[in-house]
Subunit: 491 residues, 2 copies
């Protein structure tokens, strides 16, 4: 299409039409063939989105904490909840389950102790004979006794809940004035959850409950980034990493048996980027071993923790090159570019992740600023895992319409939508993030084709074998057809 | 450069180096050859920027109203002030001069009347025999009398000043909670200034003062978007559009004579996008006539007013096609894409501006979301006039590091930096916007080459003839060399 005629001519409406169509066809899902049922649903979605855009309080322009109750009542959101969303490829192990379940179920179990840290957080432990005191924490309180003395435990429960999530009813800008402040609280909440979820019986139940919550949100497959910690029993004895991975395997099997329309889950083993080089070498070796011994459940390897404060990938290049040097497969799924420190060492993580042959990129928020990395990612089809609510809560972007994924999607850059740490952000499953993507950075131009493409991407860019992918796709197609046919009646 | 080797190899540090260099060379100014003096200055700038990035209060991440006092004390800003910045290509007629000058000079002139509107703004008029009452405004007050009764007029002056600008010491998020709110105040401030600056003697002085303020900020050339309004005299008699344009011509000549190292200014005739089609046809015809009769001062034509609320360019396509249909030259400099309403009619302005053969694009904030328009703009070298502070104050972007120009500059898309309505935003000249560009979206990767390229762009993408451009470039080169040589001593 020659659009450079230029010069002294009045614009040709047919050329304009053609260019607009060209642009629409370039976006994610822009060339998707649609069935009649899909087209009908699309017309409905467009009308809904127009109404949404006209709202004075446009949710994607607001902080998610303020927008959540508005999103919940939005007809588009309710439709997106019902939509079969395929896979959730970027979710962390200990933020899968609504914190209310942790408080109302887990902390009510016997032998649960809590203490108050000196920096306004809490810690937990289960113990049969009473735990050892923790430095920088109050004496341990047995919750069972503590609650027995109360007439109404709701206030305590709410206060515990507030410690396990970043979500707050207060003004988020005031509570979290800076990236440092919000990351500090992020880490405190993580540590608060730790003692609960690493208790072996809870660990098992937590994961099952996590799968349930994603399943209820119409997700059929998960790739969970997991630290594979030691877990402990009431008597203080512990289980090693292999136990943890095996437990993931068993619970996934159990859940898939209980829910035949759920396909399964795989684990991406993660380690904190704060460790030193020799520790990293050991961990990579262990990861290769686990990947060899548990090929069905173990998808690959990643580093976690705040990029801006941690060590860059290049610092660990020798350890991370071990698999390729030894010819041992270990797929990487690196977090990279979750930063706005343009031009720093950390900002090189995107390029380095690609040079280390990462299979996908976690976040890739800074990708647009790196045209070379962006080209490589596009040509090698290294999908970007976009987590809009996470990026907003962790203060990389304010108005979701300005999220860089708007640009990536306008050019059909391989992307998937995910939720990172939904429980920490007061979200759940993928529907909230799909809402932000579809209504926020998707704009009026994104449509049912975009949604379908995003869902198919979540299967195509998963770590599953081509054969498995076909199976998931077939399973998904059935629910999708049902969804499209039902939706036109429901609204 | 083959970067797709991939597969099972450890990353090659030389390849990595090469890719990083490739990326650096792709950015605006990335292939600029630098002199020794420039390289020395660059080393200094890099150190300064590193210190700036480490500040807890990083100014580009803050609202400009809160950041201004921090920017003023920044060594980089002080250096950018001294830097010869070439041309300011996107500046509006009645926001060139610090509002303090309007209050302390203009409102102190004899026969100046003021009234208070019912919506908390003010209006002004100069009149010899007392003006007619204005609807929805208090009775007129002669400022001379009013001030004579006061012991201390400072409070009044400050309150007047607050009405002439959006700048405020209060929390900008509270004062301007939404785009609607800030645009309302924008229009009120504009109307408040109107009665002062359309008084013929003030009109002349205001423009001279405007040129002075830009000249003091080391700018040597301006393209002013001007409404070319009727001006009035004390007795209520008026001058027509031709008088106004001639006055611009005369004052520019005078100023250039008074300042031989200043090159000059040209006018882009603007009309509000709220008018109807037949009025637009008349205005375009008048613009063609003015362009024919005043070829030296009259650069072209543009539409102004908030895009989201006004009529899209395509609505005026017949009127705007008149010049090309008649074979009469009338260069366009359209505002387009100053919006986040993705996918709406207004959002088509970018493509339509290009189809109407615009010479440059004002703002182009939404350009990244339109890959087709972006390609055309790049291939046809239609420069984007980037006004970071304007976009932030008018609530398109919060953290300047997320400004889309970061991406445009990473690929050497033709851009120039401008200030739109500096007086309304509490800025002046171009230095504040250069600061936001260089320290904010430029990141650590932008350097002296980027600055030089931006300045050269402002001459190359001006409406001047190639011959005039050579002259300006030569004039600029002299000051630039001096600047580079002096800076190394000054810091
Ligand atoms: Zn993550
Ligand atoms: Zn403008």
């Amino acid at each position: 299409l020659c659009y450079l005629t230029g010069g002294m001519t009045a614009p040709d409406p047919r050329q304009r039409e053609a260019l607009m169509e060209l642009e629409a066809s370039m976006q994610t899902g822009g060339r998707m063939l649609l069935t009649d049922a899909e087209l009908r649903l699309d017309a409905l979605l467009f009308k809904m989105k127009q109404q949404e855009v006209e709202r004075a309080d446009f949710p994607p322009a607001m902080h998610f904490f303020k927008a959540r109750h508005l999103i919940r009542t939005s007809p588009i959101f309710q439709l997106l909840q019902k939509m079969p969303k395929g896979g959730a490829l970027h979710v962390h192990d200990f933020s899968m389950v609504d914190v209310e379940w942790l408080v109302k179920n887990v902390t009510y179990r016997p032998h649960c102790y809590m203490c108050f840290t000196y920096n306004q957080s809490v810690r937990f432990i289960f113990s049969s004979q009473g735990p050892k005191p923790l430095p920088r924490c109050s004496p341990w309180i047995l919750l069972e006794n503590f609650r027995a003395k109360m007439i109404n435990a709701t206030e305590l429960d709410n206060s515990i809940m507030g410690n396990l999530t970043l979500f707050t009813q207060q003004d988020p800008e005031t509570v979290y004035p800076s990236q440092d402040a919000v990351w500090d609280r992020f880490e405190q909440a993580f540590l608060a959850v730790w003692g609960l979820v690493t208790y072996a019986p809870v660990f098992r139940d937590y994961y099952y409950q996590g799968l349930t919550e994603f399943y209820m949100d119409n997700i059929m497959y998960l790739e969970v980034r997991a630290l594979l910690p030691e877990t402990y029993e009431l008597d203080g004895s512990t289980h090693d990493r292999t136990w943890t991975l095996k437990t993931y395997q068993e619970v996934t099997r159990q859940f898939t048996e209980d829910h035949p329309d759920f396909f399964g889950a795989r684990i991406i083993f993660t380690v904190h980027r704060g460790i030193n080089i020799s520790a990293m070498t050991g961990v990579v070796e262990e990861a290769m071993k686990l990947h060899r011994d548990f090929p069905d459940i173990m998808a690959g390897f990643d580093l976690v923790g705040r990029e801006d404060r941690g060590r860059p990938l290049w610092y660990f290049r020798d350890a991370l090159s071990l698999p390729s040097e030894r010819g041992v497969p270990l797929p990487f799924f690196f977090h990279a570019g979750e930063t706005d420190l343009e031009g720093t060492e950390v900002d090189q993580n995107l390029l380095d992740a690609l040079l280390l042959n990462t299979s996908r990129i976690g976040h890739g928020f800074a990708l647009l600023r790196h045209p070379v990395a962006r080209n490589i990612s596009k040509k090698k089809e290294v999908a970007v895992e976009v987590c809009p609510i996470s990026n907003q809560v962790l203060k990389l972007v304010n108005d979701i319409r300005n999220h860089p994924a708007a640009v990536l999607m306008s050019e059909n850059h391989p992307v998937v939508i995910s939720s990172d740490d939904p429980a920490l952000f007061g979200a759940s499953g993928l529907s909230y993030d799909f809402y932000e993507a579809f209504v926020g950075f998707g704009g009026l131009g994104s449509n049912i084709g975009s949604l379908k493409a995003l869902v198919i991407n979540s299967i195509r860019y998963s770590s599953l074998t081509p054969k498995q992918q076909e199976k998931v796709l077939a399973l998904w197609q059935t629910s999708w057809n049902k969804f499209c046919n039902n939706s036109k009646n429901a609204f």
